[in-house]
Structure formats: structure tokens, C-alpha cells
Symmetry: C2
Subunit: 460 residues, 2 copies
């Protein structure tokens, strides 16, 4: 396998010829079983490395009665206890700032990043220089599979701060040799300026969240510009399920007349593009030789068979600073075995990451995923580009209400409301009240959209 | 001279031992005349390079009747016509997006940046990979002279977008081998989060604008935290004159109990840290072997003698993409010959960049620099942290008014107002009306402060 080393060390001068579909042909197209044999070896190396250097992992595994040498198969590996985000936070609270799962010296930390910490204690990432380069190399490889080439211009329309999304896209694009346009996002007036710059620079690739991609296109239209005129061929999007939701994907592809690629797992496991869609377009591939991903039963944390739904559990195979060894995502997805039509022998997620175990809410006994509502409303002809999901309780009865913005072009708003209510009832199995709101009423986001407002807790 | 090549090519594995005061001892401490001889050779190379590749420069020099081969001394060089920002904008409007002063192929552009374009047409920067590395290497060297070392943690508290400030500080810190904490700035709530992260991460170095440094410290205090507890030893600041204004510098040094270093010229000439203060602390040094700076008479564009005031004219010695050859800054400064007590044989700017030819305004016949007002009010005991300068015209009479925020601790507000009026009249030579406003009334900025509001134009 090309450049397959532990600790990771990439040949930074390597770049495939532009007409070669694979960055690393052997690693990407080898039989899955042969790759898994290599992954098992690497998992053993990573566990031995963490056992030596991290009190956190040693404590955890001693408590579970598992020594790294006992892992002799990927089935054995399923018995290694999962790590939760709460455990990471606790470790950092007790052994700050990076927790006692930091496996390098404090002085070897090259970049500091972290979670945004909008809810609860933020988690700090201390990345080694080798990690940073491994991320750049892995992301360049995944972006190559989307058809991005050195001749492309990559516009990055997301905020540069703690969030690893923007940085990961940037260093991947740099490593790939593309022209990088790290525009950022987040300050007042930035979206209008982005429109001006996209019109003049004609970036062929766009990175951001699906919500922001839509917001940017709408802003362009409000300024009298057609986003199709920007010449964007590839939209690679992360941070939200949207890019794998057919209606949102179609909307974005129609707005820009470019192809949408879904990517992204969790900042903690960067290279987070380890879930990344290729030109095969069957949903994100699991780039198992970068981050070994098991889609697991949420109860037993053992892998579910291909074709089934579960929650991803991630193991970084290239991270030397804060290796994640069976990190429980809490996300929801379904996996298939592959190979993809692009020739890569990785499993894939046909519907992407479509929800979280904990953002699934229950209304009158029905489990409801916000992404299912997103899919229905964004697919409605006349949808105005934004909506909100309100869950409330009246007396003992749960109420599900969707605030729905209609497009300026809609004549019969009441008819659209009736259609929305019928579609939602059919898909969700519960009665849903739809409130129509005028175009442009609901706030747009430049980051991840937060559309669910559940007031039942406060009312209890 | 160490790593002195054209086109630039740095040994990326080089780093001096931490106890060595100079990154490149020979380049930094050689006799100024010997360095100037090397600079003359380089200027000739850069001119020949631009003559061959840039219609913009060839046209300009042909019109002036100057061929690169005619420049045989730095005195000859003073006759090369200056470039104005308006010319750059015009060239980009006619030969978009990078203008016909781009000396590389479009496909060789590695990073796209630009001016913020808050006023007028923005200017696009197309940087080659070699430029990016030259910036990183030059900035690492200047930051080294401030005493920043690989053991340091560098917190970057400025917005990452088109603006080259944040990026230049980041890649310099990366190249130096420090721990980089690219926190960014600009979105709501970001400053409060910055306080939390600084308290937990204890960054030893801070980069941002002087205004934002003060705003961040005030925010910390409002949250009950003493910014001195962050452990910041070095504040290297750019984007505004503040870091060389004694009262602002003292305020920042008192707030953080760290040392302030002034740096920065113009984004167009990146490595913009070419004006950068060292531990000698005599004001920014002119790192002449990075960007050759002539402080010139604003009328003739010939150098003024050391000790005199003039406007900096910049020539990039390492930029292969869009070389700036005698770019007129329009800034105001005074230069001295050096050497600095740190042993570097560069000239320096004892008061930094303290104004612009065009933001100097006239009130009743007196030329007034906003920075002179800044210096008076920020030096007042009881100053509340922000102010505004209002220039208006009543009948035929100019009125100068300063809105002044008082600190919460001030008892006798009227006495402070009288003191402010007396000090301003004494310094400026014109009567100034001071209006006291309550603490926290005036908006703080996360970027460059814009404090002058001249309403005379609209009233005419």
C-alpha cells in the first residue's frame, strides 16, 4: 500500500497525473479483505501506542480487562469499549487542557483547535505537525476522488476558527495543488462580498455547509446574479446531513448547476473527510485506511451487517496526538458493502449521515428525524428556502408544527400549505400543522442550521 | 547572506537554536552599506523579471523612459516612477482578475486573497506557492526577533478571510515551530469565547489589532477575569497605528502585563511584517532585505534623509507573482538610520506608521492627525476605552468634537471633560469640544477602529 506508515509519513512531493482517477490506486482499489488485514495490523499498532502513552486508554482498557495484544481480529476489536464525547470532556476537565489521552508531549502540539462549545464545555484538539500533514494528505486524496484537480479553484465559504471544517478543506486543497481561495464566512456583509468575488474569480469548487450554499445562492439572486454564472462544478459540503438529502442536493445542483458531494464525520477524528463521496456518487465512501469506521448497533457496539442501520464508531489510523479509538459518534446511518462504481472497494453510506440518536424526537409515539422533515419540505415546489420545526405540548398532547417559508413566486399559499401538511402526514405518520411565513422571514445561517425548537422540556 | 536567492528558495528545515537572537545572523547584522549593495543587485533582478513578464511595468517604465538596465545605484532607483493603488485597481479592471502585473501563469496561483473592498473596488492578490513560503519564512524571522520561540503558543485573534494579517501571522508562527492557535474573530460571541480559551490555553503570544487587544481585555474584565492571568508575554499587533502610540502601548502592556511589538506595512507587499519591531524596542525595523523600503518626499518620491518625515515606498524583493516595485503607501512616518540596540543594522521607525497623507484633516487651518487625538485621550486617567472624532461645519466654521467614554470608576466626569479639552487644545492647537458618554456606549471593533466622522463633505 502506498505511503502506509506508522507513524504516518507522506511523500509530500507526490501527486498523481491529472487523468488518473485514484490518488493511491492500490490502497483505494485493493480487495476489501486484504485492506482489512492491513487495518487490523494498524489497529494493533495504534492500540499499543495508546497503551504506552495514554493513562486514559490504559485505565479504560484495564477496567474492561482488554490488553491490546488480545485483539487478534476485527471481531475481537468490537469488544474494545467505545469512547464517548462525555469521557473526553471529563478527561480534559481533569487533565487540562488536552486530556490524558494526549499521546505526545505538550511541546509537540503544532495547532490548537476545538469544538465550538456552543453547548457545554468545549473540547480542545492538540494536533501534531504529523497529524496536520496526514489530514492534508488524506483530504487531498478524497477531494481527488471528487474530480478536483490542480487546475481547479477551491472557494472555502465557512468560518475559520476552532472548527476543523474550513481548515481541513483548505489544507487538503493546498496539498492537492489547487488554487485556494480561503474566503471564510461569518461577519456582517460577508455573503454579499462572497457573491462579488465568486462572480469575478469563477471558482470551480465550493466548500461550505449545505445551508450556507443555499443562502449564498439566494443572496446572489437577490443581487440580480445567477449562481450558475459562477462556474462551480463541484460543491463538497459537510457539517449537516443536507448534501445526502435528495431534495436539498437537487436544489443545490439546480441552483449552481454543479455536482454535490457529501463528506464529513466528526472534528475529533480529523481527517474528517474520511466519509467522503467520490465521482461514483453512491453516498460517502468509508475511507477505511484513513479512519476505520464500524457502523454499530447502538446497544452492543458491535458492527451491524451491511445493509443495516447503526451508529458509526470511529478509529483514527493516522493520528498520533489524540488518537480516537472506537469513538462513538451517536450519528445514524446505513452502510452498504461496496465497491462503488468508481472502482474503490470501500463500503459506503447510501443516504449519508441522516440523523443523530439524540436528535430523533418522539411525537405522539412516533420517532421523527428532523432530516425527514427537511427532505419533505425542501422537495415542495414553492418552498421558500427556510423552515423551522416546533415541537410543543398542549395539555397532554404533543404538537408538531412546521413554519414554512414560501417562495415569492407562489400564488396560492393556502394550497401549498395543504400540500405540505398532506406530505408530512404521509411521511411522518403524525398530523403536522404547517404555518406559512412570508419569503425572507426566517433567519438564514452561515453555519449549521438549527431548525428544531422543542419547547416541551421547558413547559413540563 | 543566508538563503539569499532569486527567485526565493528557503531551506524549510532550518531553525536557529532558541538562544540565538538572530534567525539569519549575517543578513540581519551586516553593515547597512554591504546589504544595500546586495539589495541593488536584487532590485535589478526584480525589475528585469517584471520587464520580461509584466505589460503593466514595461508600459509604465517605457513611458517614463527608464529601462531596468539604467538603474545602477539606489539613487538611480529613486527615479523609477511609483505605483499607486489606483493604478493596480485599474490594471485589474482591464486585465482581470489579477491585472497585467501578474508575472506568473494564472495556473501557478496558489492562494487567492485581496483587500476587503469596504471602499471601492477590491484588489485581488494571486500568490504563488513560492511567495507563500517566502512570507512564512520572513515572518518567522521577524517574529523570532520579538523573542517568539518554538515553545510559545501564538493566539491569532483576527478574522481569517481575504485580509492577509491573520494568514501572515499564522504561517509565520507555523514556520517558526510555535504552537498555533488560529482562533479568528468576527462572529457574535467570539470574543467571550476567546476569553475562555485564553484562560484555559495560556497563550504566550497574541496577534491582532491594538483595538481588538483592548476590546478583548475589557471583555475579560467584564467577565470577571484579569487578562494578566492569561500569561501573554508578547503582543504583536498590526493594522492600526496604535501599537506605536505610547499611551495605547502602555495601556495594552498594563492590561496584559506583556510587551507590545508594532508591525505591519501593507497587504500588497506581504511579507507585510517587513516593518516589524524587535526586542530592541525602538519602533518597527525596516527589514530591507525582505522588502526594500524608501521613506520618501510625498512630492518627489526621492528618499528623505534619516531623521525626516516622509511616506514609505515599498519594493518587494521576494514576490514572484505580483511584484510591487515602488508602491506608494500614502502613509506617514519618520525614519532613523539604526542600528537598533538589538544589533540589527536596519533603519527603524521610532514612532511607527502614525498616519496617512489622506486621513490628515484640516480644522480651521490646522493639520490634524487622528492618531494625535488617540494619543491624548487614551493617555487620560479615566478614559473609558473608546472615543469618536466628529468634524463638522457650522456656518463657515469647522467644529472638532470628541465623544469620549469615561471609565465606570470616574467620579467627577465634568473634571475629566475639562482636562480632556485642555489637553487636546494644547496638543492640536485648536479648540476641541469634548462630549462625555457613559461607559460601554460606543461600539467596539474587532477589526480596525474607524473613529473619524467628517460630516463636512455631506453638508457642503
Amino acid at each position: 500500500m502506498e505511503d502506509w506508515n506508522w507513524p504516518p509519513a507522506y511523500d509530500e512531493s507526490y501527486r498523481p497525473p491529472p487523468d488518473q482517477p485514484y490518488w493511491f490506486p492500490r490502497r483505494e482499489t485493493m480487495p476489501a479483505a486484504a485492506r482489512e488485514a492491513k487495518i487490523l495490523e494498524r489497529v494493533q499498532q495504534v492500540m499499543a501506542y495508546a497503551w504506552e502513552r495514554s493513562p486514559f486508554y490504559r485505565r479504560k482498557w484495564e477496567e474492561a480487562g482488554i490488553h491490546p495484544s488480545a485483539v487478534r481480529s476485527l471481531e475481537d476489536y468490537e469488544r474494545v469499549p467505545v469512547v464517548t464525547k462525555a469521557e473526553l470532556r471529563r478527561s480534559q476537565a481533569d487533565h487540562g487542557p488536552f486530556g490524558d489521552y494526549l499521546c505526545i508531549e505538550d511541546s509537540e502540539v503544532f495547532h490548537i483547535h476545538g469544538t465550538s462549545g456552543t453547548t457545554g464545555r468545549p473540547t480542545a484538539f492538540g494536533l501534531a505537525h504529523a497529524d496536520w500533514r496526514a489530514i492534508a494528505n488524506a483530504h487531498a486524496r478524497v477531494m481527488w476522488s471528487m474530480g478536483i484537480r490542480p487546475a481547479d479553484t477551491v472557494f472555502i465559504g465557512s468560518f475559520f476558527s476552532l472548527y476543523m471544517g474550513s481548515w481541513g478543506a483548505l489544507i487538503g486543497a493546498e496539498r492537492l495543488g489547487a488554487r485556494c481561495f480561503p474566503f471564510g464566512a461569518g461577519v456582517p456583509g460577508q455573503t454579499e462580498r462572497a457573491v462579488t468575488w465568486m462572480a469575478s474569480m469563477q471558482p470551480t469548487c465550493f466548500y461550505g455547509t449545505p445551508s450556507y450554499g443555499i443562502h449564498l445562492a439566494e443572496t446572489a439572486e437577490s443581487l440580480g446574479l445567477d449562481p450558475r454564472s459562477f462556474g462551480v462544478r463541484v460543491l463538497f459540503l459537510s457539517g449537516e446531513p443536507g448534501a445526502s438529502v435528495p431534495a436539498i442536493r437537487e436544489k443545490l445542483e439546480d441552483l449552481y448547476r454543479g455536482q454535490v458531494f457529501d463528506c464529513g464525520s466528526m472534528a475529533e477524528v480529523s481527517p474528517w473527510m474520511n466519509l467522503g463521496e467520490s465521482l461514483g456518487r453512491v453516498g460517502p465512501l468509508l475511507w477505511q485506511d484513513v479512519v476505520y469506521t464500524e457502523v454499530c448497533d447502538p446497544g452492543t457496539h458491535a458492527r451491524v451487517p451491511y445493509g443495516n442501520e447503526g451508529t458509526p464508531v470511529y478509529t483514527t489510523l493516522e493520528r498520533i496526538s489524540q488518537p480516537m479509538i472506537r469513538l462513538l459518534s451517536g450519528d445514524l446511518t446505513r452502510w452498504d458493502a461496496g465497491p462503488s462504481p468508481c472502482g474503490r472497494t470501500y463500503p459506503h453510506l447510501p443516504k449519508g449521515i441522516y440523523g443523530r440518536l439524540d436528535d430523533q424526537f418522539t411525537v405522539r409515539g412516533e420517532n421523527i428525524l428532523p432530516s425527514a422533515i427537511d427532505e419533505v419540505v425542501t422537495g415542495l415546489h414553492g418552498y421558500g428556502g427556510e423552515h423551522r420545526i416546533l415541537v410543543s405540548r398542549l395539555e397532554a398532547m404533543d404538537e408538531l408544527t412546521v413554519q414554512l417559508e414560501y417562495a415569492a413566486s407562489v400564488g396560492d399559499v393556502a394550497a401549498l400549505r395543504r400540500r405540505a401538511e398532506a406530505e408530512l402526514r404521509r411521511t411522518l405518520g403524525v398530523n403536522t400543522k404547517v404555518l406559512m411565513v412570508a419569503p425572507g422571514t426566517l433567519e438564514r445561517t452561515e453555519f449549521k442550521a438549527r431548525r428544531v425548537i422543542d419547547s416541551r422540556e421547558v413547559l413540563r
